[in-house]
Structure formats: structure tokens, C-alpha cells
């Protein structure tokens, strides 16, 4: 059974005139790395919130359809229970770190789970090690750079040992280098620990290499869903997502009459394809 199973999901926030999500059907298998993207207002954040129960518990409204994550029905379980299985990393690093040291922030989740001190200590050490934040443990979050803050945020979510990690535009406030770093950490968690990742991103140029499935939302509906190569086409461009420049380039070349075998979605693939057409 898929680890995330969404059937006919529709949701309207309380008092809203239009639904934010309209009949969404989505299945994610364990271990997948899915990128969710789309223009502003398409429902990406709302979809994320459904995955850990913030919708409909924290954000009330009308929800129809079924959402099951790790076998749990989000309508029947409180967020506190769901958060043991689904970790959530938010856009703004500032408001999700609130202790005076990184170490305590990472301990916060396990402490809330009521674990013993030894177990908490074990998990904290592990999470700091996996995210490469051990030297930051005694530093205050506000002393850290944006990239370091997000790494600590990821560690603090990781310490709860979730099976699924949802990240809502985690690189929004970061400079390009830190963004690349963070996405690398997330990819590592997916590759080495088998954590299923749902990543909402605009920066597809940096994120695409880590994923083989892109879901494009538009006006609350799943417009496109498939491997990057299939998704990054004219329709995606019309919907208004930031297709990686190399993919855009080769689409334009193909339109121009060049013989393009397959549209590259990363710089490495583009290099190969470019060499091919230049030497042919």
C-alpha cells in the first residue's frame, strides 16, 4: 500500500469562497522523492498541510475525500500522533527554531514524544550527525546562517524518526549555495535512510536532479504528474512553473528544428545532448 494515499481530496478553508484543493488523487510509494510545484496559490502548501494533519485540525474547513499517510487517516488522528510519522520543515527557518541552542531544538520533538532521557540523547546525537550539524550544537539558532538554520530544522524533525518528510519551500530565504546544500541533505536522507520525501519547490533547477517525479498543481488540481522529462514541456511553461533553463533551452532548439533526442533536465544531461548535436 502506498505510504501516501490521497483519493478525491477536496478542501476549502473556513470562510473561503473557493476550494484550495479540487479532487486531488495522488499516490506516493515508500522511498520516493516527489517534487510538488506550481504557480502561487495552486494549493501546494495546503496539500502539504494535509499530510501531517495541520489540515483539517489546525486549519479548519470542509474536507472531502480520503487522505491516508503511513496507514493513518488524517481525519481521525491528531497532528501530534501524525507528527511521529510525518516530519514537516517550514519555509522560514526563524519561526521553527525556538530554543537557545541547536541541541535543545533538536531535542524538542523527542522530548514532546515523552521519551526517556537516554533515548532523546541517542536520537539527538544521531540527527546532528546525519545532518552534519554537530559543531553547531551549542550555538543559538539566531547566530546561525539561514542554511545552517534549515539544517538544524531538518535535524530537529529527523530526531522524531519520521517515515515521511514534507518540506515546504525550504530554500525560499536561502542563498543559492545554501539552497544546493540543503537539497543535498534532504536527498541524502532519502537515499541513505529511505525516508519518503515530498518537497515543494520553485527552484526546480537545483531540485530536479534529486527526484524522478514532478507533480505540478494548478488552481487546486493535479495538472501534471510524472518524470521530469515528461513534465517539463510546453504545458508546464504555460502553467507558469520555473522549468530548469537547460530544459527550456532544448525545447526552444527542438522548436527551431534541431534534432533533440531527449530533453535534458539537469546540466549534466544537457552537456551530453549538446555535445551530441554539435558533433553530429
Amino acid at each position: 500500500m502506498p505510504i501516501i494515499d490521497i483519493k478525491n481530496l477536496s478542501f476549502s478553508y473556513a470562510g473561503a469562497s473557493r476550494p484550495s484543493l479540487n479532487d486531488i488523487n495522488l499516490e506516493v510509494e515508500k522511498g520516493e522523492f516527489v517534487i510538488v510545484t506550481g504557480p502561487s496559490g495552486c494549493g501546494k502548501t495546503t496539500l502539504c498541510r494535509c499530510l501531517n494533519g495541520l489540515v483539517p485540525n489546525f486549519y479548519t474547513g470542509e474536507l472531502t475525500g480520503e487522505v491516508s499517510v503511513c496507514g493513518l487517516d488524517i481525519r481521525r488522528q491528531p497532528t501530534s500522533v501524525l507528527s511521529r510519522h510525518v516530519g514537516f520543515v517550514f519555509q522560514n527557518p526563524e519561526n521553527q527554531l525556538f530554543s537557545l541552542t541547536a541541541e535543545r531544538d533538536v531535542a524538542f520533538g523527542p522530548e514532546n514524544l515523552g521519551l526517556s532521557r537516554e533515548e532523546i540523547r541517542k536520537r539527538v546525537e544521531w540527527a546532528l550527525k546525519v545532518t552534519g550539524t554537530e559543531e553547531l550544537r551549542d550555538r543559538a539558532p539566531y547566530e546561525l546562517s539561514g542554511g545552517q538554520q534549515q539544517r538544524v530544522a531538518i535535524a530537529s524533525v529527523l530526531a522524531m524518526e519520521p517515515e515521511v518528510m514534507v518540506l515546504d519551500e525550504p530554500t525560499s530565504f536561502l542563498d543559492p549555495k545554501s539552497s544546493r546544500e540543503i537539497l543535498g541533505v534532504v536527498a541524502k536522507l532519502n537515499r541513505e535512510l529511505g525516508i519518503t520525501v515530498v518537497l515543494v519547490e520553485h527552484r526546480l533547477d537545483l531540485a530536479t536532479r534529486h527526484s524522478d517525479r514532478i507533480v505540478v498543481l494548478d488552481k487546486g488540481v493535479v495538472a501534471l504528474d510524472g518524470p521530469p522529462r515528461n513534465v517539463y514541456g510546453k504545458e508546464a511553461h504555460l502553467i507558469g512553473i520555473g522549468v530548469p533553463k537547460v530544459a527550456l533551452l532544448f525545447h526552444l532548439l527542438r522548436q527551431d528544428g534541431q534534432q533533440i533526442e531527449k530533453i535534458p533536465v539537469t546540466v549534466e544531461e544537457a552537456e551530453k545532448e549538446l555535445r551530441r548535436i554539435l558533433t553530429d
Binding site: 485540525n57 489546525f58 500522533v81 522560514n92 519561526n95 521553527q96 525556538f98 537557545l100 522530548e111 532521557r117
Partner: protein, 256 residues
């Protein structure tokens, strides 16, 4: 604004910073109690000055000085309120010095105790966790809101807002474009914070163990002992001892 600097925590390695917050709290409470016992100008001045070496040990003299300067307005208010309601010059002076002594003791406490440690101390004193968390989060948010406030002021000034112009009424109205974005910002921040808390199982169970435990060292126990002894001494002195004092014979002419 400078007044608040004297209550803001800064992370430093000093003997005062590494004191257990509970021992520090006892120390502060003793200073508090002793200042309430006396109305003697000399004694109160001593109580105020005795704290200076502690502040120096906590490497916070400059910020304390700033907050003292900032507190001058309030101190002056206290002085004149006392004078105008018929107290003697000496008494009014004593009250002012007492105010400054109290302010200093709280200042030391907050400058050298991290909000986290404060929260831990409260927790270990069996205060319900949600209350402790509320308290420490509120304290932590103060510097963040101060930065927000400055940004809002900058943004509105960039649209032509002049805070120092206009009559009294206009000046008050000029604060609306600052307060509203600040409040909205605070609300948004709280919502984001709440989302993060929910997502990390906050409130799942009340049987909650904190990773870090505050443990009192020998020096902390010693501090508590010495403080209590001083309190006892002070109580005895206030009742039985003949203490030197000064009287300043000055009275405002009775206006009513």
C-alpha cells in the same frame, strides 16, 4: 529603548552566567527583601553599590549603565511623586535609590540567565510545562520583535513618515502605521510558531522529560546559604541595630 538593553540576555562565559538560575533567583529575592526592609538612604545606597561587582563579574556593566540612564526618567518620577505627596527629601531619595537597587537586581538576573534555563528552572520546580514554555517563548520573542519594530519604522519612514514632527495628537497617530504592522507581524509569527509546535508533537503527553537537567553545584548551594544568612542579618539589623544615616533637611513649601 536603552532601558530594555539592561534586561536582555547575552550569552557569555562568566561566573554569574554559569550560576544555577535557582541560586541566582534566591540571591535576587534576598536583595529585593533587604531593600524593602530599609528606608535608610545610606543602607540602600550600599545595597545598590554592592551589586556593581556582581554586574562587573557578569561583564554587563555597560548595558547596566545604559539601562540606569534610561531608568532615570522613572526614577525622577518616583522622586517627585514622593516629594509632592508630602514625604521628606531624604525619604524620597531613599525610595528612588530603592527603585534603582531593585531594577539592578532584576537586571542582573535577566542579563545573565538564558530564557531556556529559566524555563528549565520553572519546570524542575514543577510548574506545568505549557506555562514554562509560554514564558520562555515570550522572553525569546522580545529581541525578535525589537528587530521587527525597527524594520517597520524604517519601512514607514521610507514612505515619508516623520515621527518627530507635529503636535502631540499627530505624534500619537503617527504610531498607528508602526503598531499595526507590528501586531500583524506578531500574529503571523505566532501562527507559524504554532504550526511548528503542532508538527513536533507539542502537547502529546504531559509526561515529558527534558534532555538537559539543571544541577546545582557546590558554589550554588553556597550562594543560597550566604544569601539567606545575609537576609537574617539584615532582618536583625533592621530591628535592633543602630544604623548610621543621613538626613537632608529640605522640604518643598506646602502647596496645599
Amino acid at each position: 529603548m536603552r532601558v530594555f538593553e539592561g534586561f536582555k540576555f547575552t550569552k557569555l562565559q562568566t561566573p554569574i552566567h554559569s550560576m544555577d538560575p535557582r541560586a541566582k533567583f534566591v540571591m535576587i529575592m534576598v536583595v529585593f527583601a533587604i531593600s524593602l526592609l530599609f528606608t535608610n538612604v545610606l543602607i540602600l545606597t550600599v545595597i545598590l553599590l554592592v551589586q556593581v561587582p556582581l554586574i562587573w563579574l557578569g561583564r554587563s556593566i555597560r548595558r547596566w549603565g545604559g539601562s540606569m540612564k534610561g531608568g532615570v526618567f522613572l526614577a525622577g518620577l518616583i522622586f517627585f511623586m514622593n516629594l509632592l505627596t508630602g514625604s521628606t527629601f531624604t525619604y524620597s531619595l531613599a525610595m528612588t535609590i530603592r527603585f534603582l537597587a531593585l531594577m539592578s537586581s532584576f537586571s542582573i538576573f535577566f542579563m545573565t540567565t538564558s530564557p531556556d534555563d529559566l524555563g528549565l528552572a520553572l519546570e524542575q520546580a514543577h510548574v506545568p510545562y505549557s506555562l514554562c514554555f509560554t514564558f520562555t517563548t515570550a522572553v525569546r520573542l522580545v529581541p525578535t520583535m525589537a528587530v521587527d519594530a525597527q524594520t517597520v519604522i524604517d519601512a514607514q519612514r521610507s514612505r515619508g513618515l516623520e515621527l518627530d514632527k507635529g503636535n502631540f495628537l499627530k505624534r500619537i497617530r503617527n504610531y498607528i502605521p508602526i503598531l499595526i504592522p507590528l501586531i500583524v507581524s506578531a500574529i503571523r509569527r505566532s501562527i507559524e510558531l504554532a504550526e511548528a509546535l503542532e508538527s513536533r508533537a507539542f502537547g502529546l503527553t504531559s509526561r515529558r522529560q527534558s534532555l538537559i537537567v539543571l544541577r546545582m553545584k557546590m558554589s550554588d548551594y553556597l550562594t543560597i546559604l550566604v544569601s539567606i544568612l545575609l537576609l537574617v542579618l539584615a532582618v536583625w539589623a533592621s530591628i535592633y541595630a543602630q544604623l548610621p544615616s543621613i538626613e537632608i533637611p529640605f522640604q518643598l513649601p506646602r502647596l496645599w
